[in-house]
Symmetry: C2
Subunit: 458 residues, 2 copies
């Protein structure tokens, strides 16, 4: 009898010591689960690429025996932030031109700069810089639309970030493809190469209805569906895009896409500022996700998306930083959360719109839903990928802290991020990027800047 | 002949070695002088409380012999930033409540929290925390409106910051004065005490026309003019303030103040969102300065001030962070510059509005002008007070850098500030506050948070 009891106790003890790779603990764990639980004195246990358990620190410590521990009693743990729209390599054009009308900005600066500079080497260093900046400010997954996307993917893996990466298909000669047909072939090779990658979700990215011909839009959709990957596209970003579409085709951009069947599958539309009621009904029906880019939409004066209405309809809208070259000069999702919330309030004169919890959801679980990845990322829950960050809560800008989620949106900064884990791998520790050489990046960025400046003189 | 030549050379060498207290050098010096010069490889020489010279590093090093040197080849030097409107002690209420209508926010949270908690000790620790946060993010001068302003002044001097500090005069019993008459007496004692201080500009701060009776507004003006100090007041912050004034008095708030003679002297009006054309003509004529608070105006959904028009009329409008308790949950002027520029663009659908140079001016020289201090601070020029900051330009969010001033507004962060000098005294070095004990502040803030939370439960 005694022996059996002892064996039972021993079994319980063994159970109490289930081995895991690591336990992260902190003052608060912001789960972003369905109940939006914030756990005081909490912890997250990780094995391999996934979260094993989330709970009170004492409980987690009792149940799991980690090989590594990270204790952050002066920080919070949150899901890694999700950027649903950017053009990472354009970091090398950061602030190249700004405070200009879109046409002037594109035609005088961005297009010439791209024509003269964008090649695989440019994409490599631009992506590496962007990954460094994003990881250090708490982004764990980002969504990209650019050229040479296989280089973007290689760099993203090197950094250890998660990427939904879209190879651009556009109707004019691009740096990596002379025709849409070439671009589609490139996209297919890229998708085939990365379709089973643990970090990369390859995608096809027809630029927009006004730059990508109808047959290429249809072919992009078919390609995406053939491989079960997302299609990424700019959608109703400017008033002019909408006006031109209505004038030429008597349909909104969304209706054009739908008439081509291009929304029949996993799709992410970026911006979505000028969507009307009918557009939203179409997007809802097709299960399309959206990316809201408040900094870019403000700086380029594109307008303000009707985020509260979109979210109320159940259309998942995440947050995006957009590119760096005058549309938004950094890639910091803390600023996008803060601005998204404030912009709705001030433009509608209603302070209750887009409360902090909703803004934080956009940067995490709702963004994951927009990308069709909410089963895998976006919250801290057992079974999900271990994508998480720690953020200091004892900096002068962080104290006192009455409401953890509101503080994340309105007071904490990208610079307060201490540690980052993606897919179970620690890539930032104590604000230092473990996977990239920031000194080398600085040197290469400097060389690129000199070349780009020189190229624009001629 | 030879001897005379030698003497001449010696004299030149002696001149070349004019002693100064310190030389700060950096990759760029952003002067914000009338020509908005940015000096590559520049330096600033300081003696006592003032700037002696600004120029190329080689030239400054040739002409001056410093006792101390700070070389920052990976940073820029800029004028210290100027916050034209805040309520520093309210830092202890940071994020106490938000995403609420103004009335609910004030009546359910802020007023009860103030009634139950604001005393000299509260003001002491709240100010100390705010000073720490402001200095670390590059603010060297700030403008305050609160209670126990003599405590605010003592704390500001302890931190080593410059303050334009207004003792509140309000029509209901306040934490430090039962009546407006008591408040005015307090204000006069405060002004008399600090009128000749090198760091503090004392001021009287009638709260607003809707909270401070007419006779107290007139008495505040008279008091300010008697001592030659500024009067600070909230002005046309909300649509309701304007509507009520028009309904009750058939005049806008500005016209009310003017009819009382309350604008006849140095005045700073905070917010100025709902000013009409006639108001602006009055303010221009009276030489009134304004404080624009884009974060607060957005979060509280108060509206967007017509900044480009105001600046075009030559009315000096600076930037303010406003308080911390739900109106803006931090005190970071880098964010106000960025938001000020973006907000004008997006709400007017015009990306050329409020370009970066103008936003940076608002945070420096134009802010100084709004406070009537532009002879003393706001730019780096010989003869001015030595109020300056260094900001790293090699962080991943800062590179490449094509346009220094635009980068300051759109890409650099408060967290990139390395060093801060106010009135010739170094108060931040390598991101560490030299004048305050941040551990002690953290502990006291924690104690205060517990007390405040407890007080709101009853």
């Amino acid at each position: 009898m005694m022996r059996i009891a002892l064996l039972l106790v021993a079994a319980l003890c063994l159970k109490a010591a289930e081995p895991v790779d690591s336990i992260w603990s902190a003052k608060y764990v912001v789960t972003m689960d369905a109940e939006r639980r914030v756990i005081d004195d909490g912890a997250v246990a990780v094995r391999g690429e996934r979260i094993v358990a989330v709970g009170k620190r004492a409980e987690i410590e009792r149940l799991y025996k980690p090989r590594r521990r990270l204790a952050r009693p002066q920080s919070l743990i949150a899901p890694g932030l999700i950027n649903t729209h950017t053009h990472a390599p354009m970091s090398l054009f950061r602030g190249l031109a700004g405070d200009l009308r879109l046409e002037e900005w594109l035609e005088k600066y961005i297009f010439p700069a791209e024509r003269k500079n964008v090649d695989a080497e440019f994409v490599k260093w631009g992506t590496r810089l962007a990954c460094l900046e994003m990881a250090l400010s708490g982004t764990t997954t980002y969504t990209d639309m650019y050229y040479f996307e296989e280089v973007v993917a290689a760099e993203t893996k090197r950094a250890g970030l998660r990427g939904v990466l879209g190879q651009t298909v556009i109707g004019f000669p691009a740096p990596d493809a002379a025709t849409p047909r070439d671009a589609l072939a490139r996209a297919e090779r890229f998708i085939a190469q990365y379709r089973n990658d643990p970090l990369i979700v390859p995608a096809v990215a027809p630029h927009a209805i006004y730059t990508t011909p109808d047959d290429a839009l249809k072919a992009s959709r078919a390609l995406a569906n053939r491989y079960g990957v997302p299609m990424l596209i700019h959608l109703s970003e400017t008033k002019r895009e909408n006006a031109d579409s209505l004038a030429k085709r008597k349909m909104t951009p969304t209706a054009v896409l739908d008439s081509l069947g291009a929304l029949n599958g996993r799709t992410l539309g970026a911006h979505g500022i000028w969507l009307d009621g009918n557009d939203l009904r179409i997007l809802k029906e097709r299960g399309t996700g959206l990316a809201h880019c408040p900094s870019s939409n403000s700086k380029l004066a594109s307008g303000v998306a009707r985020v509260p209405r979109i979210l109320a309809m159940g259309i998942p809208m995440g947050l995006g930083t957009d590119g760096f070259a005058g549309s938004n000069d950094d890639a910091n999702l803390f600023e996008e959360m803060d601005l998204a919330a404030k912009l709705q309030k001030v433009t509608n004169l209603d302070p209750e719109l887009l409360p902090a919890t909703q803004a934080l959801a956009m940067a995490t679980i709702t963004g994951a839903r927009a990308l069709g990845l909410d089963k895998e990322i976006g919250s801290l829950e057992a079974g999900k990928r271990a994508d998480m960050i720690t953020v200091m809560v004892n900096a002068p800008n962080a104290i006192p802290m009455y409401h953890v989620m509101a503080q994340m949106v309105y007071a904490l900064k990208g610079a307060d991020v201490n540690d980052v884990m993606v897919n179970g791998r620690e890539i930032v520790r104590d604000r230092r990027m473990l996977t990239l050489d920031s000194v080398e990046i600085g040197r290469k960025v400097s060389e690129n800047q000199a070349r780009i400046s020189e190229s624009l003189r001629h």
